[in-house]
């Protein structure tokens, strides 16, 4: 069967910006600095860069080659991609079930993450508007700021439209297609994001000490980079470094990188383009991400606040508790800086969420012959279903407002990503084959990946690393509160995870059998 005609990226720069937008998300700016602060300061870069070269870059290559190969066969989502890669060494039936399960796990990660992630994006939109509207001027302390967050989250009149408008914008962009929607959005949003980031870095490092003379922002910058080498004795620093690489590069998330790579032409370069998007992401993270939130937070709360960050305060809580009162204290400049900060986070989130909604849309568009303009709104409806409980929980409770979000994040946003990545590596390196995939990745390549790197690092080290992470995560993460449903919203999250997994099985099986049914059942 010949592959149906598919859209392609119009320009190389559009592809790279869209891929970078896919990778650069909230994690670059709020998760990375908090993790670095908690796991060794400057020394955190050692496990972080080890994971980048042993795990991040090789899996990035794996996802790109799987995507382009799948796209050449008319596929934009993971299940059929896994099938055509793995059927070379598995029987069609076994390959089909391997692909269906892999596709279903990817589907769960996609719809569940998009559900809560778009909510957080909506919060950022609200905060950007609040800052420019002068609302931060009344926040004097971190407690005031937390009170402001709680009043927002518990008021559906604010948080529901903030979420829905952001989700609507994302679905609208996706509905317009790859060239007219996603690529144009990336070409507009990514330069704005980088410009805002650079302005904020300059502001952050030149801010001085608006609260106490000894709490200069540059002192906070120094504090972040001061190495705490003893922390490297703790294996969790290495797991956290690898975890951050996963989040930041968006690897293993729903097959969004394979999806974007599926719009490449068969002879388009992979190695240099993938390395370029990785590099842009690292710039946004290590250079910009480390230079904004922590220095600003230090200028607000000094060493006492940093001790809390070192003890594990999340980057999100730091961003919404320390930065709004600081921006409020800075007057007009602060209002603009607050707008820049939260709109930067909004852009970072939206460009990633577009990829998440697009991969769900691709399933309906390509395997069920539903027009993209309708498929995007079906994806919108599914995401609405997985995301609305974040709103409902806020509206119905007065404390512990994020049980649904935390549990969904624990399983879909942390654990299952590793499973998806492991399945992809096995499919490409082991089932498709080292030589075959190596040859495929070099079709039209501008640079050559050393064969030993592909064979040893991508084929052996990366899956072992993934397996260790998975075991570690299950053993150490399972006892945590986020892993256990403790109330109705926790149980709803469990139910949604199960329902979406079953839906993923049904959809992926139907999609696969529509295209390869005869081959799988032996009728071809």
């Amino acid at each position: 069967m010949s592959a149906p005609a598919r859209e392609h990226w119009a320009t190389k720069i559009g592809l790279i910006l869209a891929m970078a937008g896919n990778a650069i998300g909230l994690g670059n700016f709020i998760r990375f600095p908090a993790k670095a602060a908690a796991y060794g300061g400057g020394a955190y870069l050692i496990p972080y860069f080890i994971a980048l070269f042993l795990l991040g870059i090789p899996i990035m290559f794996v996802e790109w080659v799987l995507g382009r190969y799948g796209g050449a066969h008319g596929h934009g989502h993971l299940a059929p991609m896994l099938y055509i890669a793995s059927k070379r060494r598995l029987s069609p039936k076994t390959a089909a079930w391997f692909a269906i399960i892999g596709g279903a796990v990817a589907f769960v990660t996609g719809v569940m993450i998009t559900g809560y992630y778009t909510n957080i994006i909506g919060w950022m939109a609200f905060y950007a508007c609040s800052s420019i509207g002068g609302a931060f001027a009344g926040l004097k302390t971190a407690d005031d700021a937390i009170g402001y967050l709680v009043s927002f989250l518990t008021n559906p009149a604010y948080n529901f439209p903030a979420w829905l408008i952001s989700l609507f914008i994302i679905a609208f962009i996706v509905s317009r297609g790859v060239r007219r929607g996603i690529e144009i959005a990336a070409k507009i949003m990514m330069p704005i994001l980088f410009l805002e980031g650079i302005i904020l870095v300059i502001l952050s490092l030149t801010l001085g000490a608006p609260v106490k003379p000894e709490w200069t922002s540059i002192k906070g910058f120094e504090w972040l980079w001061t190495p705490k080498l003893a922390k490297l004795g703790d294996p969790s620093a290495f797991i956290e470094g690898a975890g951050q690489i996963f989040f930041t590069l968006s690897i293993g998330i729903a097959g969004i990188i394979p999806n974007y790579a599926s719009y490449l032409r068969r002879e388009d370069d992979i190695p240099l383009s993938a390395l370029t998007t990785t590099t842009l992401n690292e710039f946004a993270e290590v250079v910009m991400g480390a230079s904004i939130a922590i220095p600003l937070a230090y200028a607000f709360g000094g060493p006492e606040l940093m001790a809390k960050v070192e003890a594990g305060m999340s980057g999100f809580i730091l961003s919404v508790s320390a930065l709004p009162p600081l921006f409020g204290k800075l007057g007009g400049i602060g209002a603009v800086a607050g707008f820049l900060w939260f709109s930067l986070l909004w852009f970072a989130g939206v460009t990633s969420a577009i990829a998440l909604v697009n991969v769900i849309t691709a399933i309906f568009e390509e395997d069920f012959n539903i027009k993209r303009s309708i498929g995007a709104w079906i994806a919108f409806a599914i995401v609405f279903l997985t995301g609305v409980f974040v709103n409902i929980e806020g509206a119905m409770k007065t404390e512990q407002l994020t049980d649904y979000l935390d549990l969904a994040d624990f399983y879909a946003g942390s654990l299952l990503l590793l499973v998806v990545a492991l399945i992809e590596v096995i499919a490409v390196l082991w089932l498709w084959g080292v030589d075959e995939s190596y040859e495929e990745i070099h079709r039209g390549a501008f640079i050559t990946i050393p064969k030993w790197y592909w064979k040893l690092i991508a084929g052996i080290i990366a899956p072992i690393y993934l397996l260790i992470m998975l075991i570690w995560f299950v053993v150490t993460g399972s006892p945590s509160a986020a892993a256990r449903p403790e109330n109705i919203f926790g149980w709803i999250a469990v139910a949604m995870l199960i329902i979406m997994f079953i839906l993923g099985i049904v959809i992926n099986k139907a999609a696969l059998y529509r295209r390869y049914g005869k081959e799988i059942t032996g009728g071809a």
């Binding site: 300061g41 400057g42 020394a43 870069l45 860069f49 540059i218 120094e222 504090w223 980079w225 001061t226 190495p227 370069d269 240099l272 390395l275 370029t276 990785t278 590099t279 690292e282 710039f283 290590v286 250079v287 480390a290 501008f446 640079i447």
Partner: protein, 41 residues
Amino acid sequence: MPFAPEAAAFLAFGWLVVFGLIAFVAYKWNQVKKRRTEGAS
């Protein structure tokens, strides 16, 4: 500007890796551009 040497060292390490990557990909893209220009002429 008071900046502890060990903090400066790790800052330099992190930025060197990132800007090293930037220099590498920029150099490679430039080579691609050159090859294309030569191929076209």
